[in-house]
């Protein structure tokens, strides 16, 4: 305790330098915390689960995947063909068709706020299979169940995220017309039946898949009997949930060995593997963030601290000499200097990481960084100890050499000029 007080008191030597070093540390910890949060999120998303895993069935040779709707029913069950094959229950499967539209009829006048991207799916799968929505609890779950019920009852219904609804300048209960972007000339009049719970789907929407299918089926009637170009390509993804890897392997074999899915061919991969594949395009960016940006910031921070501590040590040579005269040993001088740096580093790191956590997660409701299809990132709670580790680690690295220099101050040399 007595040494701690001494450390704290000597930190007041130069308040301005202490403050500036602290601010520099906070700034860099803030940036590194953001980078680490994104990398951690992506690592978790791409790490293999061994239990209760989700698999994605998609077209093997094309992105985006465009499978015929005829595949939907069989794939949703896991394509069981014979006795002993595993059959996926309906609550453990989900089909997606992606519908993109705009509320502006004239595309030239369309702005970002008029666009809307919707998942066309079976309404019940919102509660059983959609990430984060399948684990809702309490009042939030009850509220969303009502909304899903409305979507199931109203084939023209649409559920929208709060941010997207605000951008469209519409309210729940309104009816809007969506002019198809990917499904050209498939325009859908939809009734806004409710909102997604706040979070991941703030900018998304969901419509009833039957409504889209019906629109595709009706297309030939107004187009001289010609089918819509995407009529046989409207199934984009099939999600399957399986208890463990063994069942995944079994279902995967069932699907891949079936002749029903050969044209186009399909592939089956775990969600994490699918995400990894999708992130391939961002591989260099992620690599740069992990191995260039973050280390560069850490090194810069260490140098900043080292510079500040070096200046302080140079100014305080006489003080260190006096402490040695009084009986302080070299290792105690070393410890004093390092402790001062650590105190500043750890405090600044924890404060910065904590503030980042609060501001990003609570105040802003997530970091909107559009990498791949991830809407937003949140700061994990581990950031609090990252802050301490980064601040403390860089403080130690930056202060060690100056502290060693302080330790080697020769008392007789410092006083040689006197008398």
């Amino acid at each position: 305790m007595k040494y701690f007080l001494l450390v704290f008191e000597t930190m007041r030597q130069n308040w301005l330098r202490t403050l500036l070093t602290s601010l520099g540390t906070m700034m860099m910890v803030f940036v590194v915390t953001l980078v680490f949060s994104i990398l951690t999120f992506l690592d978790r998303a791409t790490s293999e689960k061994s239990q209760n895993l989700k698999a994605i069935v998609s077209e093997r040779w094309q992105i985006p995947s465009q499978m015929p709707i005829a595949y939907a029913d069989a794939l949703s069950e896991g394509a069981p063909q014979k006795e002993g094959d595993h059959r996926i229950e309906s609550k453990d499967s989900m089909t997606w068709s992606f519908y993109g539209g705009t509320t502006e009829k004239d595309l030239r006048l369309a702005t970002r706020s008029s666009f809307l991207f919707a998942f066309a799916l079976l309404p019940s799968s919102l509660l059983t299979m959609m990430d984060e929505l399948d684990s809702l609890e309490g009042p939030l779950k009850a509220e969303f169940e009502v909304v899903v019920g409305k979507l199931a009852d109203n084939r023209r219904g649409i559920i929208v995220g709060k941010d997207r609804l605000a951008a469209l300048e519409k309210s729940v209960g309104d009816t809007i017309t969506l002019y198809g972007l990917n499904y050209k000339e498939i325009n859908l009049e939809v009734d806004i039946v409710g909102l997604f719970p706040p979070g991941r789907y703030d900018n998304s929407a969901a419509i009833n898949r039957d409504y889209l299918r019906a629109a595709l089926d009706a297309y030939p009637q107004s187009h001289s009997g010609k089918s819509h170009p995407l009529a046989s390509k409207s199934l984009n993804l099939v999600w399957l949930r399986m208890k463990d890897k063994q069942i995944f392997e079994q279902v995967s074999n069932q699907i891949l060995s079936s002749s029903s899915f050969s044209s186009p061919a399909v592939k089956v991969e775990t969600a994490s593997s699918g995400i990894s594949t999708f992130l391939e395009a961002y591989r260099d960016l992620i690599w740069g963030m992990r191995w260039l940006l973050a280390p560069a910031i850490l090194v810069t921070l260490s140098l900043v601290i080292s510079n500040a501590i070096s200046i302080g040590v140079r100014e305080r040579r006489m003080e260190f000499a006096v402490l040695k005269v009084l009986g302080f040993r070299p290792w105690q001088i070393l410890l004093l200097v390092i402790s001062e740096a650590l105190a500043i580093g750890v405090f600044s790191g924890v404060f910065s990481a904590g503030l980042t956590y609060y501001m990003v997660n609570v105040y802003f409701g997530g970091l909107k960084f559009p990498i791949a299809f991830f809407g937003e990132f949140r700061i994990p709670w581990e950031a609090l100890w990252w802050g301490a580790a980064i601040g403390g680690g860089t403080a130690f690295a930056g202060s060690f050499l100056p502290a060693w220099s302080a330790r080697t101050v020769k008392v007789s040399d410092v006083f040689a000029k006197i008398a």
């Binding site: 007595k2 000597t10 007041r12 005269v325 009986g327 070299p330 006083f415 040689a416 006197i418 008398a419």
Partner: protein, 231 residues
């Protein structure tokens, strides 16, 4: 402790320094005894070796040749770590420019040496209070050096020097940065320490008035003792 042997014994001490490529001999076979309770002044021209001798006696440096024995311990053979520990308990150092830590109060400055000893906070507080009482600064305990006059700062320096109750006080031009009145007060204080607390004092000074307060003045010239001025 037996006081038959001198408090300080300097035996045939040589001290050389490397300055650039040259070797400079600062002390050449110097011998000196300082008795317990004696107040000795060291005088001499610049470069005569006064401060070097003081540093050797205070255990801040080691001789190139010869021995320095203080309070019966041959400090010239101690390692740097041993010297540091020895200094805390046995030496009080008074500097010309006080060298107080500017961010610490008078109390905390005086307490510094005690942080190295196994004392409780209460014991440290008692000893600091006593030391500041002795130097007459009980009413300034919470003042920082910037809030004290030169004379008061030097009193704090003296309090710091005596707080561990060392037998030997070494003072390096303690009045060099003070006006005549303050210098007088400091010298009176040093005299009181010798008389009432039986401290042994070795003081480097250029000031003849300061030298007058000493029991004995030792003149150094070219690293050796010149014929002494007895009191």
């Amino acid at each position: 402790m037996s006081h038959e042997s001198p408090c300080v014994q300097v035996r045939d001490v040589h001290k050389s320094f490397k300055r650039g490529g040259d070797v400079v001999d600062v002390l050449n076979g110097l011998n000196l005894d300082v008795q317990h309770g004696e107040f000795v002044g060291l005088m001499g021209p610049s470069g005569s070796g006064k401060t070097t001798l003081l540093n050797l006696i205070a255990g801040l440096d080691r001789p190139t040749l010869g021995e320095v024995i203080v309070q019966g311990q041959t400090i010239s053979r101690m390692t740097e770590g041993q010297l540091a520990g020895w200094r805390t308990r046995n030496i009080g150092f008074v500097f010309q420019f006080y060298h107080l830590l500017p961010v610490l109060t008078a109390f905390r400055n005086v307490e510094l040496p005690l942080l190295l000893l196994p004392l409780s906070a209460k014991q440290r507080r008692q000893q600091v209070t006593t030391a500041l009482d002795i130097v007459g600064l009980s009413d300034r305990v919470n003042h920082r050096p910037g809030q004290l006059s030169g004379g008061q700062q030097q009193r704090v320096g003296i309090a710091r020097a005596i707080v561990t109750d060392p037998a030997l006080i070494v003072a390096d031009e303690p009045t060099g940065d003070l006006d005549a009145k303050s210098a007088d007060e400091i010298l009176n204080l040093l005299g009181e320490l010798k008389k009432t607390l039986n401290k042994t004092i070795v003081m480097v000074t250029h000031d003849p008035r300061a030298a007058e307060r000493a029991d004995r003045v030792v003149q150094l010239a070219k690293g050796r003792l010149a014929p002494q001025l007895a009191k």
